[in-house]
Symmetry: C2
Subunit: 112 residues, 2 copies
């Protein structure tokens, strides 16, 4: 009998995400660290390998906020959940935004 | 006897405002409308003349959030409180950020 998969994750079209939701998603240190990390890894990263010091349930919440704001794409690959930044789409809808946020002086250290 | 002035407003140095606080300040429609309006008026604007449809107490709260995040400067001129965007300072600390946020499609209508 087939393994029962986790429900598919929903990803909004970026065209319908309000800029306020994107700003809210970027208003948290842990979420900015995730974005910063992913910006350096276009092929994505497995959950559990992010250099952030929060409980798994908290991290899961942060991924949800980022996903619902259209900032990240997540998919399950076997037992791993894989996370990618939707950088090209974000740059198309909000040109320069990610670069401007990530250039903030306090984020200039290498996140890896 | 001298008129008792309102207490001086405090304005943080932009160098000590975390980028997360700036993002939070920009994560609200009314506050984005205020920023958008001020971007077009470098000499500032008197309170009560902003094209936003919220109660005065709510507007006052929004100005406080923007002021404490270093986005606006406010000063009292007679009976008027005058508000200016700290655009040059913001551009120096977060190059391109304001322009990227304000370019969001849903903010592209003329706010005046």
């Amino acid at each position: 009998m087939a393994h029962n998969p986790r429900p598919a994750l929903e990803h909004p079209q970026l065209g319908v995400v309000p800029v306020t939701a994107v700003m809210h998603a970027l208003s948290d240190e842990t979420r900015l660290a995730i974005v910063h990390t992913l910006l350096a890894e276009p092929t994505g990263r497995a959950c559990g390998t992010f250099p952030v010091d929060v409980a798994p349930s908290t991290l899961s919440h942060h991924f949800k906020v980022l996903r619902e704001a259209g900032l990240i794409h997540q998919e399950d690959r076997g037992t791993q959940r894989w996370t990618m930044l939707r950088a090209p789409e974000l740059d198309a809808r909000f040109p320069g935004l990610l670069a401007a946020v990530i250039a903030a002086p306090e984020l200039s250290t290498d996140p890896s």
